[in-house]
């Protein structure tokens, strides 16, 4: 345990989620917040911390969120736009509760489908204004979005370790198997075959369409509090055991020092140094799958397989429910849509609570690991059932 106070997850919730909800960022944020408060059995007056992560071009304010929800006074707030998506909000919230800065902290990630991938949405200034900052060294070459670093990372792994496109595909196929047991949240309801994966069009070869998460409008919320308060609440509490962020020296995702050994390795090493648990104690994983290769890099970084071995590891079925490390048991963001990391925290919480329904694993996990991002920045956390 890393902090002063043990930090519990006591409530989880989602907004309406869809391709084109027509709902504003604030509406989605309020919906998810209310769902998480209902799940926890708390009211806005119980909450004294709000942490939001959003894109700079889809900014959501933590203090405005609090005002919207009628929270009278915040002891802690933070609105971040940089880094590892929901996990940044989570780690701020954990730090706030662990340090005593907040007794009960609402943590959020809200995203709109439109422009979420970056690209021309980040250009601004009209079509002839040109692109400034770091983007002037990428966009004129056609490098616009996350897909354009993803293809480079995959190619490098394939060249260095002999990984095959089918290995990434095997991971996508396994995720779909889970998604079929999550019909209420998944956008996909048919099994996926490796042939369908291989026949899906390339976005940036070797990156296939089915390597990419599914862009949606969504907001996700989790509520954290101290162990003492958690014991009196509605749900069986689960607890953060260790957590860490990590970065690379080069900030540009396409220019990091080592694409096959990027920030997940730094975050994972740091996290394991703060706990007595080891990978063999972990029975469920929620590994960020903005692109499928990211989850594979996390399998290596966290030590579930050797460095460079994630391709054959996934192809052998080790991320399935009966495998070495059941991974993304809600179907992952490729199936439930882009919740930008929060769905992994929510699903691992359900597995550890024992409320995963049809997705309950054959071996009930006592600990789970969650992660977010790759390349220039990453974060991860260990969660235990008690």
């Amino acid at each position: 345990m890393s902090g002063k106070q043990r930090v519990a997850i006591v409530g989880v919730g989602y907004s309406t989620v869809g391709r084109n909800t027509g709902l504003s960022l604030d509406t989605l944020t309020a919906q998810a917040s209310i769902a998480a408060m209902d799940d926890a059995g708390v009211t806005p007056r119980d909450i004294d911390g709000v942490v939001v992560h959003s894109f700079p071009h889809q900014y959501v304010s933590s203090t405005h969120t609090a005002a919207m929800l009628g929270i009278p006074d915040l002891a802690f707030y933070s609105s971040s736009v940089d880094g590892a998506a929901y996990a940044v909000a989570a780690l701020h919230g954990i730090a706030a509760v662990a340090s005593g800065s907040s007794d009960m902290c609402l943590t959020l990630r809200t995203v709109h489908r439109a422009g979420a991938a970056g690209g021309t949405a980040l250009m601004g200034g009209g079509e002839n204004a040109g692109v400034g900052g770091q983007f002037q060294f990428g966009m004129p070459y056609g490098s616009f979005t996350g897909a354009h670093f993803a293809g480079l990372y995959m190619q490098r792994h394939m060249a260095q370790y002999g990984t095959k496109e089918e290995d990434f595909g095997a991971f996508a196929v396994a995720q779909r198997e889970y998604a079929l047991r999550n019909p209420a949240e998944s956008f996909f309801h048919e099994p996926l075959t490796i042939e369908e994966y291989m026949n899906s069009r390339y976005i940036a070869k070797p990156l296939h369409l089915l390597d990419c998460d599914y862009p949606v409008d969504s907001s996700s919320a989790l509520i954290f509090t101290t162990e003492e308060r958690a014991r009196d609440l509605k749900q069986k509490a689960v607890f953060f055991d260790a957590w860490a962020m990590g970065t690379t020296a080069e900030a540009d995702f396409s220019l990091v020092e080592d694409m096959t050994h990027s920030s997940p390795f730094m975050a994972a090493r740091r996290m394991w140094s703060k706990t007595d648990l080891t990978p063999s104690d972990v029975g469920v994983a929620g590994l960020y799958d903005g692109f499928s290769f990211i989850a594979l890099q996390w399998l290596e970084a966290l030590g579930f397989c050797g460095e460079g071995e994630s391709g054959p590891f996934a192809a052998a079925g080790n991320t399935r429910a009966d495998g070495i490390i059941p991974t993304n048991t809600d179907g992952g963001a490729c199936n439930v849509g882009r919740r930008h990391g929060a769905n992994f925290f929510i699903e691992v919480t359900r597995q550890l609570r024992g409320t995963a329904g049809d997705r309950a694993l054959p071996r009930k996990p006592a600990a789970g690991v969650v992660s977010n991002a790759v390349g220039g920045f990453a974060a991860c956390a260990l969660i235990t059932a008690d």
Binding site: N128, Q136, F137, G142, S143, F144, G151, K205
Partner: protein, 142 residues
């Protein structure tokens, strides 16, 4: 599509930190930010040297030789300018002058099926419009 003729390329918007790079490219010289204090290159340009924290930064001309660190074949256009360019190669090239000194670029004049990581490449120039020229790379020899 008659509007294709009106589609303009995605142009850089240089500022005081980056204009040397595009000014050099217009003269077909590959200039990379270089620290006057410790002599190290860095890219993209920054206001301060990552290595020694000096603000005394200039530009140094490099040979234009390098190797492909990684690459991909772009098959979807994310901007109308690229609609008639796909498939094309986006790559990260590591320059010969300094380990880890890399830039995002295109590989041109290449057999798309034959490109491999580690291939030696040499800078060449793609004139984007009247104002801007992009440094791009082509395979060396074979």
């Amino acid at each position: 599509m008659t509007e294709t003729a009106q589609v303009r390329p995605v142009r850089p918007a240089p500022d005081s930190l980056t204009s040397f790079f595009w000014d050099g490219a217009r003269e077909r010289r590959l200039l990379i930010q270089k620290c006057a204090s410790c002599g190290r290159f860095q890219h993209p340009p920054e206001p301060v040297c990552h290595h020694c924290l000096s603000f005394d930064l200039g530009a140094g001309e490099v040979s234009g030789r390098g190797t492909i660190y990684s690459f991909e074949i772009a098959t979807q256009a994310f901007h109308p300018w690229f609609a008639d360019k796909i498939p094309f190669v986006i790559a990260v090239v590591e320059l010969a002058e300094q380990p880890g000194l890399k830039l995002i670029t295109n590989i041109v004049e290449a057999d798309l099926a034959a490109i491999e990581i580690g291939d030696e490449v040499q800078v060449t120039w793609h004139q984007l419009d009247d104002e801007f020229t992009l440094p791009v790379f082509r395979p060396v020899g074979g």
